[in-house]
């Protein structure tokens, strides 16, 4: 078992290293010269000498690998460098943004799970019944509408037409409602569809007939099915968190929610590369860790699956 855990940690580190290299390389081939960007954004007249001095100061002249090494060491220590826009350290901005995004993301994730889990169980057991068809219809539609569309439509009908909610999200329940609903609807749709498929697979397994043959009560059979599905469902949730990350960028931009998503969008328009890199690394790390944890959970639940 320990051997598997070590193997997992090693693959975790390897993936994160490649993630950081990918991001840094991406920056390297990005159009435009960072030094020039800094000068123009600070309103300094761009002349040859000033440009060279700036490049020297930013250490842009060192070989690529050396710059990557230095940058990586700083990142590991939690220092994501300095923002081009206001020369403030990037790290605190990222953590503040992350805190807000986590509030938003966790609320919508939990809300989606609370809705989709029972519905998926119900529609799997009552396969092809009316309930199943209705649930499948809604989850299908929910899954087919991009979250930015839902938020725009909700904003139109709820905020403008019926004036129920403020357009700008604020940290109280009222302000949070719109972004959370916009994130939850597509996620609930996907959860219901994927969980229902997994339950149906388990329902077809031989052991269900075996237990039925011994007169085992329905609720015990359902419990067994749920227990066997945990491994797969944890993978589904882990993958959904990836989509959730992408979705929160869109929703935070629309509703002005001060999360890490809005931060990265603003920094993209301002070509503020350190913040973009910080965003990708933070989100990438969280996602990679969550996926490895869900793999381990999957293995614990069903030791026959190899990692």
């Amino acid at each position: 078992m320990i051997k598997k855990a070590i193997k997992k940690i090693v693959s975790l580190i390897v993936i994160l290293m490649i993630l950081s290299f990918f991001v840094f390389a991406l920056l390297y081939i990005a159009p435009g010269d960072p030094a020039e960007k800094r000068l123009t954004s600070q309103g300094v007249a761009v002349t040859k000498e000033v440009l060279d001095a700036e490049r020297e100061r930013l250490g842009l002249l060192k070989p690529f690998l050396v710059r990557y090494g230095e940058w990586l060491v700083r990142v590991i220590r939690g220092d994501f460098g300095v923002s081009f826009k206001d020369d403030m350290p990037v790290a605190p901005k990222l953590w503040a943004g992350l805190r807000n995004t986590t509030i938003l993301a966790m609320t919508s994730l939990i809300l989606s799970l609370l809705i989709s889990f029972p519905l998926a169980v119900l529609s799997a057991i009552k396969k092809n019944g009316i309930a199943d068809n209705i649930i499948r219809l809604f989850s299908f539609i929910g899954n087919s509408i991009p979250n930015f569309l839902i938020s725009v439509l909700l904003m139109y009908f709820l905020c403008i037409k019926m004036k129920l909610f403020p357009v700008i999200a604020s940290e109280n329940l009222q302000g949070l409602f719109m972004p959370v609903v916009s994130l939850s609807i597509p996620m609930t749709g996907r959860f219901i569809r994927q969980m229902r498929t997994e339950f149906l697979i388990q329902l077809k397994e031989d052991y269900v007939v075996g237990m039925w043959g011994r007169g085992v009560k329905g609720r015990y059979i359902v419990l067994n099915i749920l227990r066997n599905s945990i491994g797969h469902i944890s993978t589904v949730i882990a993958l959904q968190i990836g989509t959730l990350m992408g979705g929160s960028v869109v929703i935070e931009t629309i509703f002005r929610w001060p999360g890490i998503g809005k931060l990265v969008m603003d920094s993209i328009t301002a070509r503020d590369y350190p913040v973009i890199m910080g965003f990708v690394i933070v989100m990438g790390t969280i996602y990679v860790v969550i996926n490895q944890v869900s793999d381990i959970l999957g293995h614990l639940m069903d030791p026959r699956t190899n990692i």
Binding site: L27, S144, F148, V152, Y287
Partner: protein
């Protein structure tokens, strides 16, 4: 066999209906030039934010452009980009996955590690980073989504190739003295195509959501080019006074995605019957 063929007939009917719908959408957008009453790009100060009427069936947007024409032309961009992206990722992914599944060895290990790494990143985060930093419009967005999409096709085709390779008829072909190339072309690929193509169909809807999402953020298509995501993003600022400029492209997006997602679903049910 009565019940099964009954269900099969019902599904077949649905597939035909839905694929006709999909074809209709594709035709309408490809022949946008013919159908569109006005030019999607000419602005006219006099008819800014006009309500839907005779001359402008879907009204006009903030710059007085005909929303109906822009929806048609925008559809062409979104659908063409989606099909191109899915087709490219599908072809690359399927071929590489098939070869790795068939030959195995280091090639296969390499693909598996690459796939683990590629799928380890959240697709949208990568897309935002690539599109944001490269800032290369629609092609940037397509590259951003394509990076992770071809890998999921590769993994699927690899696992199908594994199960085909275990079948006895592949061994029989070896004993018949057939070359690897023959076996792949005649036995592996045809049997692999159906399940992988069905998956590709289901990817169309998701890709459309991804692409229009990126354009909405301004990372895909950049105005003035007509594209549903960016149109909605542009029009949302004055949603109160000209809601039609947002609602019609939104409706077009939802309908198209529902049609293609449903097509994928029905074909998948049909394959499982």
């Amino acid at each position: 066999m009565k019940q099964r063929t009954l269900r099969e007939k019902k599904l077949k009917k649905r597939i035909i209906v839905v694929s006709l719908l999909a074809l209709l959408i594709i035709l309408m957008t490809t022949f946008a030039g013919v159908i569109a009453p006005n030019d999607p790009y000419t602005t006219s100060a006099s008819s800014i934010r006009m309500a839907p009427g005779a001359q402008y069936p879907f009204g006009t947007d903030n710059l007085g452009r005909c929303v109906f024409s822009r929806v048609l032309y925008g559809g062409r961009t979104t659908i063409a980009a989606t099909f191109l992206l899915v087709f490219i990722s599908f072809s690359i992914g399927t071929v590489i996955g098939m070869l790795c599944g068939y030959y195995g060895g280091i090639l296969d290990q390499l693909l598996m590690r690459l796939a683990d790494i590629m799928l380890a990143f959240p697709q949208m985060v990568v897309a935002i980073a690539v599109a944001g930093i490269l800032n290369a419009g629609m092609s940037g967005a397509m590259v951003a989504l394509g990076i992770t999409m071809w890998v999921s096709f590769a993994r699927l085709s690899r696992s199908h190739t594994f199960s085909i390779k275990k079948e006895a008829y592949i061994q029989a072909a070896f004993f018949a003295g057939k070359s690897d190339f023959y076996i792949i072309m005649v036995h592996v690929f045809p049997n692999l195509l159906a399940p992988v193509l069905t998956n590709a169909l289901t990817q169309i809807g998701t890709t459309m959501i991804g692409l229009s999402g990126l354009s909405f953020l301004g990372l895909g298509v950049v105005p003035p080019k007509a594209e549903w995501g960016s149109m909605i993003s542009e029009a949302k600022a004055y949603i109160q006074i000209a809601p039609w400029a947002v609602l019609f492209p939104a409706l077009a997006t939802i309908i198209t995605i529902i049609v293609f997602n449903y097509l994928g679903d029905v074909v998948m049910d049909y394959m499982e019957v």
